[in-house]
Symmetry: C2
Subunit: 195 residues, 2 copies
Amino acid sequence: MNDYTKIKNYVARHIQLTEEEETYFVSLLRTTRVKKKQFIVQPGFTCKYRSYVLTGAMRAYLIDNKAQEHTVAFAIEDWWISDYNSYINQEPATLFVEALEDTILIQIDYNAEQLLMETIPKFERFFRIITQRSFAFLQKRILSNLSKSAHERYEEFIEKYPSIANRVPQYALASYLGFSPEFLSKIRNKRTGKS
Amino acid sequence: MNDYTKIKNYVARHIQLTEEEETYFVSLLRTTRVKKKQFIVQPGFTCKYRSYVLTGAMRAYLIDNKAQEHTVAFAIEDWWISDYNSYINQEPATLFVEALEDTILIQIDYNAEQLLMETIPKFERFFRIITQRSFAFLQKRILSNLSKSAHERYEEFIEKYPSIANRVPQYALASYLGFSPEFLSKIRNKRTGKS
DNA sequence: AGAAAAAAATGAACTGGTTTAGGAAATTAA
DNA sequence: TTAATTTCCTAAACCAGTTCATTTTTTTCT
């Protein structure tokens, strides 16, 4: 039922564990099922978990003071998601993290993660490496936002993440790329043209 | 002459080292002086160093295909700077990293950093923690860019980093905040009004 | 299956920020 | 201390993307 093979493989891509260490790691995990539109994080509540998507799709977003949504991140199979600001500093969240589909998550809680790093220092390395990758990803996104037009950002996204582009609602994609849903509609129409 | 007190304090804020460990750490560092407008990283060349600013100011920026500059990061005293994508993956840089003033840098090279983490695993933790902080910082910047107007972003910046705002050229600040230098001029005039 | 709700499309009017072009001020170099 | 270069300012025309209002399509619920 609880299949931890995928998350074990994910970890194995970055560090090598003994069987014993792997067993210990898995003992700290828990599986959570969420229905579409359900939240796992909400502003005001401290985010307890770092979540790995086993199946399904999630997104993290902010609602600003003009009631506009801004998507910070998507996560599909084999990706992680959280309100990291809240999780890392164990302070109240500012983001919503919501299921875009019925989703199965594998979660580790903050205290367990700290314990894991103390018990198996290789995990210090693991979290360093995945954080570095996320950092590099965000930096590319900032540069893309600064240097490219809305249209170019859209083309770039569907080329790099076609599986996400066709799976998430358009308003969510627009709010990730930094323009209005109406404009996304306009772009898409120009693209297909009439046929 | 070479004063490593400040960088030792920086490290001590995150991990505790024995004297021996501290001595070893310092033995891996080198000091570099750069003149204003000099580059320490250029596109095409792999970035060898992670650089800590002892005195002076630096910035990292991209030049896009329309010959426009986009500032990724500033660094003043007690901050780090690099083309991290290039540094972490040891692949050719895409950014310029340039001195905005005559600057003294303390640098560690990639191989030394790897060795340091193997020799003193506490540094694995150190780099994890500072990368997490940078990650959180970039995420806030993305959200700010998505949810705020140019004017609001400017106000936010001068409030949070007055020491940087008054120290770097306006075109560099504009290219960091994501608008044209002309528009920054416009904002500044509206701000002071006539008096 | 049919009603209700949510998401996507369309189009016209609008606006925040850009572009272009010129001149003024400040830095740098000799 | 002057010439050259770089940075900054100003203002008008312009445009990429927004806003608003309405309709169509898709999804969800019973």
